[in-house]
Amino acid sequence: MSDFLQLLVSGLATGSIYALAGLGFTLLWQASGTLNFAQGEFVMLPAFGILALSGLGLPLAVAFALTCAVAVVVLGWGFKRGIADPLLRSGHMPVVVATLGLSIALRNAVRAGYSAEAHPFPSVFGDDLFHIGGVAVTRIDVGTLVAALVLVLGTQAFLARTVTGRAMQAVAQDADSAVVVGIDVPRMILYTFAVNAVLACAAALLVTPSYLAKFDMGESLGTKAFFAAVIGGFNNARGTLLGGIVVGVCENLAAAYVSAAYKDAVALALFLFVLLVRPQGLLGKPVERKV
């Protein structure tokens, strides 16, 4: 039983990271119809940003704050103005292709410009160990899980309970109607991109101590985050949280009780199963569109 709990705790921590990255998918999709397949690289880039600034002697918190500021400009405003805005006029597919290309370009840029090797990354929580009910738990596992939960639920609370958040949701639901009621639609969309950039920085801060900072660290993370978002429901933030946790825990259980070789296949199998049985995702709502 303690083995199962151990796997559960570890899977929850991993799954919460998937959820955090997956939340970016749902936010951008809802706000602007942008499907960002460079989301994993949006986590990798801040990791190297934090690493580079820490290397200059800045404390981790300052390095993180500065990276967030730069990410809001580059991964938020820059991505929106440079890629999403011009390409969305031609439909969703050009954005999908462009972000796939962007992910490859970002990986190779970091590999060529910084390093192809993995780098250790400081942990914000430390790796002290304690036991709860026979289960060995590290502060980093608990901290990651709690921080990711707070961020996902906090983002949802922001969207549901603040004027700005509701305006962003209104834009996500129907941009034309939002204009009619006086909402500054472009500004709300920009806010969404900025929130996505900050969430990516937070995911980088939480996941990199375990994954190590490497140019290709976003590859599998981006894929799993996408699966998590689809499994949970692409139009529901809490659904993404559930999807991430389901993927993280199932992966861990499969690796332990079946074979590590099938670990990555678990997320894909879940993804396909949900698409076949419940296409709107576990907590998502069916959306009708005129075609």
């Binding site: 192809a116 160990l129 190590l212 332990a256 590590a260 670990k263």
Partner: protein, 378 residues
């Protein structure tokens, strides 16, 4: 007579010029990106340092070395293509790749062109195929694994051993050699756990290993995976001895794993912390040049260029076939060829014999616990 003089002078000048510019082209094909980036980068920098030193000292038989560096991307298909390019470009010798899987497919190219090929790959099968142009820069798994198993059974007094290995040519070859040696030493393998190259999460393999209740754990994965595995072992409070072979206690693994590497035991063929002055001096020169502490792959790269130098000097001419012949059965003494750092003997297969070490990681550094002498007599 007068008419012939200017012509002779021109020929003499041309010959002199060609001699002055004659260079020994060597191709360094290494894993500079992908999962083997740590090993490949260390090897490449080691070669680079040796080339600079040899050239500064006047070259080999009066000719300078001209090294080109290529990235296999840790991909066997790319490695094969680069080996073909190297021999087409007229490389006198090829250094790499380091991944056993890449070496297995690329060495046919160098063999066909009769080009000496030095490799840091560990897989035992590489030198068992009768290829007269392949030369190792480290022990084969068939030599190192029995030493590890003997240490676990003899010194650690373990009876039960769990094994975590990476599912590639390097890992499977090491796992097979280790399990065979462990069983021969009377050890019972309680868990035999395969992991994937590039695996990020080791919680399940570590839990499986813990659950099998071993007296010790043997970990045989590549650098980054070793670091992640050690971090997970620490997270799950694994309290039994963790033993590896070379990679597990490598400097890069220590840096990546941090405190989780403390206490790890490993048999290493090469270590920058070996109690040998020449190795300490090499470490200092490397650190000064590349701003980090090299691991065993740095030593492999560095010494391999001096193996070539010793081979060329033993052959007495720049002839690839003659150099390969001269290297087989060659005993290189560090007193005469300081760049090899330790006395080394190369056998007829291209395998090595030299001293090796049992090390333990303490406070982020390797500490040599035991020196195992070479079998060969020098």
């Amino acid at each position: 007579m007068n008419a012939k003089l200017p012509a002779a002078a021109v020929v003499a000048c041309l010959l002199a010029a060609s001699t002055a510019h004659a260079q020994i082209k060597i191709a360094v094909i290494q894993e500079l990106s992908g999962t083997g980036a740590t090993a490949g980068t260390n090897f490449k920098n080691g070669v680079d340092l040796a080339v600079k030193e040899i050239n500064a000292a006047g070259g080999i038989l009066g000719q300078k070395l001209d090294a080109t560096f290529e990235d296999t991307q840790s991909n066997p298909a790319v490695a094969k293509g680069l080996a073909l390019k190297a021999v087409d470009d007229g490389a006198f010798a090829v250094f790499g790749p380091t991944f056993s899987g890449s070496m297995a497919v690329s060495m046919a190219q160098t063999r066909r062109a009769e080009v000496p090929n030095f490799t840091g790959a560990d897989a035992a099968a590489l030198t068992q195929q009768g290829n007269p142009y392949i030369f190792r820069t480290s022990f084969t798994q068939l030599i190192s694994m029995p030493r590890v198993a003997r240490y676990i059974a003899g010194t650690l007094k373990a009876k039960r051993i769990a094994v975590i290995f990476v599912n590639n040519d390097f890992g499977k070859g090491g796992r097979d050699a280790f399990v065979k040696a462990a069983v021969a030493e009377g050890l019972t393998v309680t868990a035999d756990i395969s992991t994937e190259a590039g695996q990020l999460d080791f919680s399940a393999p570590v839990l499986k290993a813990k659950h099998s209740d071993p007296d010790a754990l043997f970990v045989y994965t590549n650098e980054e995976e070793s670091a992640r595995c050690l971090r997970e072992l620490r997270k799950q409070a694994f309290a039994r001895p963790i033993v590896g072979e070379t990679t597990l206690a490598g400097q890069r693994v220590i840096e990546l794993a941090g405190a989780a590497a403390n206490g790890v035991l490993a048999h290493v063929g090469l270590t920058v912390d070996a109690p040998i002055p020449a190795v300490h001096e090499f470490r200092a020169r490397f650190e000064k040049a590349y701003k980090y502490v090299p691991d065993h792959n740095g030593i492999k790269g560095y010494t391999s260029v001096y193996f070539l130098k010793a081979g060329i000097e033993a052959a007495g001419k720049l002839d690839r076939v003659a150099v390969a012949r001269a290297l087989h059965g060659l005993k290189i003494r560090a007193a005469k060829q300081p760049g090899v750092l330790m006395d080394v003997a190369i056998d007829d297969h291209g395998d090595l014999d030299r001293a090796s070490f049992i090390v333990q990681v303490k406070d982020g550094k390797q500490e040599v616990k035991e020196v195992l002498p070479p079998v060969a007599r020098f």
